[in-house]
Amino acid sequence: MSFTLLIVQTLNGLQFGVLLFLIAAGLTLVFGVMDFINLAHGVQYMLGAYLAVMFYALTGNFLIALIAALAAALLLGLLLEFTVFRHLYDRDHLEQVIATFGIILFLNQGVKVVWGAAPLSLPIPDMFSGTIVLSPGILYPVWRLMIIGSGLAVALLLYLLVSRTRVGMLVRAGATHARIVSALGVDIRRLFMIVFGFGTMLAAFAGVMIAPILSVEPGMGDSVLILAFVVIVIGGIGSMRGAFIAALLIGLVDTLGRSFAIDILRLVMPPSPARTVGPAIASMLIYVLMALVLYFRPAGLFPAKGR
Amino acid sequence: MAEPVPNPVLRIENLRKNFGGLVVTDGVSLDIKAGELHAVIGPNGAGKTTLINQISGTLEPSAGAIYLNGEDITALPPNKRAELGLARSFQITSVLPRFSALENVALAVQARSGSSYQFIGRADRESALNDAAMEALTEVSLDARADVLAAHLSHGEKRALELAIALAMQPKLLLLDEPMAGTGPEESERLIVVLQKLKGRFAMMLVEHDMNAVFALADRISVLTYGRILASGPPAQVRADPAVMTAYLGEELE
């Protein structure tokens, strides 16, 4: 458990956290402003990755693939919003869950029919494909640093958008007092579309950025979706700041837990049971964290007021 | 301020509530005698509902104490206060929409008669519960609408239903949070008659904007502004109080 290893793992946790934030940001916006539970949000992440693979195969240029994938994901997202989601906004949460779960089943299978069941991959753009030396013998992939950097940049951009622009003001107001916002004569439907489209793009962006690291396969959004929900619930629904802090917290706890749980358990038990129990405990950590947070703060770390 | 009353049903001592920097209840002290109807009036935002919420226990005060029949209830949850004889109506109608009017009231009766941890036997066929509930509905002239779902009642009927629920609890103190709000003149008139009939049976605290109702019903009036009690006393005295005149009542009474 050397110090360099701790630093590397912290970076890894940060990278994972930033990725979660990109997904959770859209989720918490849509949930907070529209009171809409969109389970299909994870599918948007998957679509982003698949579209990037497709456009990369067509153009051979990562940047073009990224932009095209974002545009296509936005179009698909808006298409879904138009055909299905907008009819669900005034339904209760349970119905939203079921309908969007149906969308997940459909799109997971659809992706398999279109692109096949085999995992696909997207290469890292050449200029970012190397590693940098953190300390002698310890390398760190540049692309992971890129993910951290771009994620933090998006977080900053979101902060400025939400705190400095009119749409951002409406979004903040909408997260706490949706009825008042609609009473102000704001075209709530248009606001919803903007928010939804934006959330979709963020998820797709996360999918594109992670595609060079993870395999692109049907169902890749499912586990991420659950984690994103954990993030927004810990952070407090509708709170961008909460989502950011909770995402980093989950990323760090999960990564550090996985790498050090066994070592810590070895201090108190023999290595063999530690190896068996360790991974189970490591997998459980984030859920334990969520249960603890909700026990002491039943509406998350940064509860939106008036909710 | 008014003299301390011996053995009041409700005594509030120096109650204080702040949300962050905003002080909503600012050192309120108040007594309600047995059988008395005590009205609390004041402009919007004076902290009247906040006060009621603290008394009924849905909101925790920042400082001060609340006594019901001499017992300190400041830290008790709402259901315990209800068991001790505290009933309330809500400013925004608060009934059980999926239950019939009769069942709404029967639930209140049930809370006071025997255990509710009975898992078999149809509750809606227990005549003891239904009879008592019907009695309360009759008192508020809602007996004809007993089988209608609460969600389908008119606004005035829902306000009456709230009153019936409170009655069925056989309270020692009833908190009424703007019972006339949103009702038409005719329905208000009817509610005033009902309340007049009930007066004296138990202590009541009435928060109300409708000054006709307040002056027709109240034994004493306290005026609340910015979370403080500005004046307190019999209606005639409050009406004559120059501070009240300028601060609040003046314009409205003229």
């Binding site: 539970i37 005034d90 089943l105 189970a280 | 849905t58 049930q110 779902l149």
Partner: protein, 325 residues
């Protein structure tokens, strides 16, 4: 978020439908004996077992407004109790079933104490959290097969007699458990307790000011639902002669919610219809094409968009339209 108040008084088919459902279930083995008996019996046994779990979920969800996203955890606990006992050679259900129920109840009591402090979506997520925890615990039980699960050597016995060994006997035992669960929940729903529990969904603040400690009532209901989930798991282990952590994955919890909504939430018998519809569709569509989810997914969307109140609601509105001509 409007309240579906209108869905309440449907007294007429309230009685006819459950009777029809149980009649069909009671007679199904006769029909099955004309072909593919073990398979059909097995399939319907599974339907009824998931029916019990879905019933329990409908009870807390449809009547109490407590949407649990971790209900499969109880199914898993029941199944693992049966499995672990069986691994140690104890199969008598006079011992194992009560233990399964008690363990489920304890888990429900403990987690309910934490979960019920939260509301709405937070409740959904915290129940998920506990479901995931117990899922990972089961996966780490390496003496009992770990992630692979394990085969039960024997089905449960009663006082030494192998009463469930025969598929048909198992079928009718499960049917009996389903009937008892259904009748029990129906009784509870309309009892004093059930009325308080239902009231707590409509307006918890009002219930508190009338004098009810809402939390305690909800926790008791949660324990009841947990016990029935455990019962379903116990039976599932016997029916498949196998236990596995996958019984309690979050996907399974999600499927239980779908079953409840599919049939028609807040009706109890709707949960049984939903379980049947879900499992039979899965089986049939799976037989038509391996891409059956391409059909099933949109079906869920359509049900939500156009058939409020699930299949029962749909059937009812079609029936009423026909009657009016």
């Amino acid at each position: 978020m409007s309240l579906s108040v209108t869905a309440l008084p449907r007294a007429r088919n309230y009685e006819a439908l459950p009777i029809a459902i149980f009649l069909v279930l009671a007679l199904a083995p006769l029909a099955a004996s004309f072909g593919a008996e073990t398979y059909l019996l097995g399939l319907f046994t599974r339907v009824m077992i998931y029916g019990i779990a879905a019933l329990a979920l409908d009870f807390i969800c449809g009547y109490g407004g407590l949407v649990s996203f971790g209900h499969a955890a109880f199914v898993g606990i029941g199944a693992y109790t049966a499995g672990i006992f069986s691994a140690h050679g104890i199969t008598d259900m006079a011992i194992t079933l009560p233990v399964a129920l008690i363990v489920s109840a304890l888990f429900a009591w403990l987690t309910g104490t934490v979960c019920l402090r939260t509301k709405s979506v937070y409740f959904i997520m915290i129940t998920l959290a506990f479901g995931q925890m117990i899922y990972f615990v089961a996966g780490s039980l390496s003496p009992y097969g770990g992630d692979d699960g394990m085969t039960l050597k024997l089905r449960s016995t009663l006082f030494g007699f192998p009463v469930l060994q025969n598929d048909r006997a198992l079928y009718y035992a499960v049917l009996a458990f389903l009937l008892v669960s259904y009748l029990l929940l129906r009784a509870i729903v309309s009892s004093r307790f059930g009325r308080v529990f239902r009231g707590a969904r409509d307006n918890p603040t009002r219930m508190a000011t009338i004098g009810y400690d809402v939390f305690r009532y909800q926790r008791v209901a949660y324990v009841i639902a947990g016990c029935l989930g455990g019962l379903a798991g116990f039976l599932l282990a016997n029916a498949t002669e196998f236990v596995s952590p996958s019984f309690m994955s979050w996907q399974r919890s999600g499927e239980l919610i779908i079953m409840v909504l599919f049939g028609g939430i807040g009706t109890l018998h709707g949960a049984i219809v939903g379980a049947a519809a879900f499992l039979l569709l899965e089986d049939m569509l799976g037989g038509i094409t391996e891409n059956w989810k391409l059909i099933f997914g949109p079906m869920l969307v359509l049900i939500v968009l156009f058939a409020r109140g699930g299949l029962l609601g749909l059937a009812q509105s079609v029936w009423e339209r026909l009657r009016r001509g």
